[in-house]
Amino acid sequence: MREKKLRNQPSNVQYSSTHSVDNSDARQGGWVRGHHRDAGGYAKEMPKFITGGTFARARAAEVNAMLKAVNKTPGSSYVFAALPKHMRRRAMSHNTKRLPRRLRDVANRMAATKKKKEQAKNKSRKARRRHGNLLLEFNRRQRKNIWLETHIWHAKRFHMVKKWGYCLGDRPTNKCYRPCYRAMSNHCLLQDLSYYCCIELHGEEDKLLAALSQLTSKDTGPTFASAVCLSGCRQGSLTVYKAGQYPSHPLGLVTFLWRPRTQGSALRQLWIWAHPTLKQDLLAELQAVCLCSEAVAMVTPVEAHPTTEPEPEKSSEAKLVPGKKRKRNHKDSSEPSAKKILGDGTRSTTSPVTWKSSLTGIIINDLTMELVRFRLIGPQSHSVLTDTLEAATRCEQQPTHTSSLWWPELCKDESRMKLHQQQADLFHTLKSIFSSSELTAGTVLSLTVDDPRLNLPTKKVQALPFLRLFHRVHIWFCVLGGPLPGHADVPEVCEEKRRELTLRGVPEHCCQSFLWDQSVRNSVTDNKIPEQTLNRMRREVLVPGSRLSPTPLQGRVPILLVHQPGKQLGTERTGWGAGWDLLLPKGWGMAFWVPLVYRGVRVGGLNMSLKHNQNKATPHFPHDYPDCPAGVRFQDEQEAELLNKLKRRPPAKRPNYIKLGCLAPLRCPWQQLAEEWELISRDLREEKTHDGPVEQQVSPLGGATVKPQHFTVLRSRSSLRLLSCWCRPSSSKGQRLRGVGESSPLSHSAASALVEAHRMSVVWVRLSLLSKGKPELHAMLCAPTAEDLRLLAKEQRANGPQEPPHKDHFKSRIGRSKKSQKTASPANDTSQSSDLVIGLWPDPLPSVSSHCSRVMLGWVTQGDFSLSAGCGEALGFITVSGLIHTLIKQPVEHRGTLLLRNPASLHYRFIKVNIEV
């Protein structure tokens, strides 16, 4: 009996076993072929007769049905599905001519009926690439995430990510991790940091300082008021807190730069540079402390531009199309530069940018995207700069002739020109320096330079230190003795100037720059020579590739060079990663970028700045500030990203973090850890007070009734210095180091006092592995037991202990919930099962500190194999109380040794803790 329907059987046709119930003999009379089991041959009762009519009719119905089924084109499948496999060809559905001819008609018919709805026809490529259309398209694409000026250069070479309202290059598409590292340590690495936000404060010095002092604390190091920074000779950096709440509520890391005092004016100008994630918090706080809440209506046309942009663009386009003189149009030359200015990614285009206070007279200006900031990292960055830039040439002009440009006007002022000459001399002296780390940290040098596009080399060259000859001479002095004839006096002059520069830095009056002046900045931006004009000038040069001269009047740019210190703390790799920051007026980004690249620098993206900070052993802004609002936001994003990444893998290929005993592979619960250690230390203290009354005088000091508040990162320098001394093993070498800043040795009373003062604090540490191993993100830091340390004492390069595997109790629950979901999905059940991811602890975490066999102290926030140290290095946080309790228990020679375990591993490895102040 066949109950089964044919696959493409029309619905009106039925074959049923009973289609001839009435006609039972007809059924019996059906001819059957083949062997039938039950019959053991043919049916026993053969029909005596067949009625021809009924039989034929029945068969006719069957044949009809079959024919219908065959002829009807199936709705869901293609014509070529009818073909046997060996006759099918690639792209048959696309091109019907690849089908055999007999099927073509059907296929054509089908294609006609299936015609997709007509796609809007794109403009031709030529039309799309037309300049105006291209710019419109670019503007549309950066409506949500703003592009930097170097965006197109980057987009061709980098993996771009959309972050913080900008499109930023993350890492280059070619493989150059090691070359970039080599560039940082031997030559020069270039980065575009224009996405950093600049906030300008304008006001009287004492009022500004009074307002800003609420945001900082002297405990953490130099403040806004530190003398060298205040004079404008140095750039400073500090951590900003919410007004008056010093140990708690930090906001983040900022760098700042004061404008040198100008004669005859009591007003000072201050630039605060902050990361875009931090900017809104900082701006609100600054407005609060400066009492600046009156938004000033935007009067500058530049700022009003973005909102009304598309309309005038279109109308001018429409006007211009019929006429052919677009190129000669004067307005057009300034248009591209004006078009590039598009507000920024951290605020909406309509929000105000200036606030002022009638009470204090302070003006806050949001200068985001008004300045371009490039960072050059590496010992040769100054040679790249001296190679690329040339101090501005004077323009020879009649003094009576007035010009609208700023430089010709300036040239008439003799004192200004003298200053410019001094600055140019200083810049020239930079050439005699061998490494950028020789200079005083944070030195600022102001300069006016010629347009660097004027002498672009025809080929990429490697900028090398200029002083090869000079040093040859020097070595002869050293090795052979006696001066070299003819060259004896040359180095002496150079030498004297160089000493002056490295020892005293740049004198104050040389730090004064026109970049601080908004009118000059705007004039320079508006009058930039377009690339096209430059190319035309290049065409007319007699010797191809030579410098363009004379310098056009608009070709002078005020810039600021800011020295970035390298690794300052600690004893290893001092000065690694020093470099220069280059500040430019907006619009000039590409004009400086390409010439810099032509001097053989490498270009790095976001991930290289992370590596730079890691090798330099400094905290990187949103990553290593988990107590700041920006850091918390960053952690949220990171968690979501990691979870996504984890879920993309098939469940069987994911590490089961529950079995590995890792509670938080995606996000570190700092608050919970700090609270737990607070409890543990309280218990320990109570035990001790029961044991002996000796320690009792300590406990009232902290006031034990304080409620556990939010955790903070320890940034007080005196406490950090204590901790850093305690972490070192007291070998002979350690004792010599300790002589520098002597402090109390590690004792119970001193330790408990420190714990008492910083109960909810975590401390930032640098960790280096003693043997092999590569630390990873969110690796766990644990305290070794006494046996572990004995193991280490026996063998210096000992492998660490193993964590016994844990049991996963949640797996069965996930399976069950999935099953129940299949049958029926009640609301509560689905919500529970959606939380459960295989291998991750569901949300209320158990005690993090005591979950594993070793006591947990903290987590790693960045870790990698360090190419500069030659071993795995990590940066992370440890709770202060946990660290101190561990240190006290450890024997003196192993002090500061901890264990590290990667989230996807059961193996502990020994690490050395360094706290550097």
């Binding site: 008021a225 060298v228 020789e438 070595i475 001092t574």
Partner: protein, 142 residues
Amino acid sequence: MTDPRNPDSASQAIEMDPVEYTLRKRLPRKLPKRRNDVYVNMKTDFRAQLARCQKLLEGGAHREICVHGLGLAINRAINIALQLQASSQGALQLAANTSTVELVDDLEPEDPDEAGEPMTRTRNNSAIHIKVFTEFPTPAKG
């Protein structure tokens, strides 16, 4: 002896209180390196540095190499040079020169607002430059 640079004796006499200042030593001034310059330090393994010198000499590219040592590393530089000579069975000769290198220290005040400027001071340290060369060809370029 090489050029004796006269240090500013006035700036040397700063009395500093270790509590109020943090001392940061800058790296000694880097000198450019030819291929045959070897700067000896105390961090790298002695044998590795010796092997490097031997490789340079035996490679045939260089007739002479210069071994430089500063401060604590002077001892080691001498040691390396003597070892080279001893292992060459008299083929190598030494010519040593000493010099004075000026080093820079930064003094950062602990309380930056009141103590005023961070200071820099210079001090001198001794250095040695040993030329290791094969005997017969006259020292080139001299």
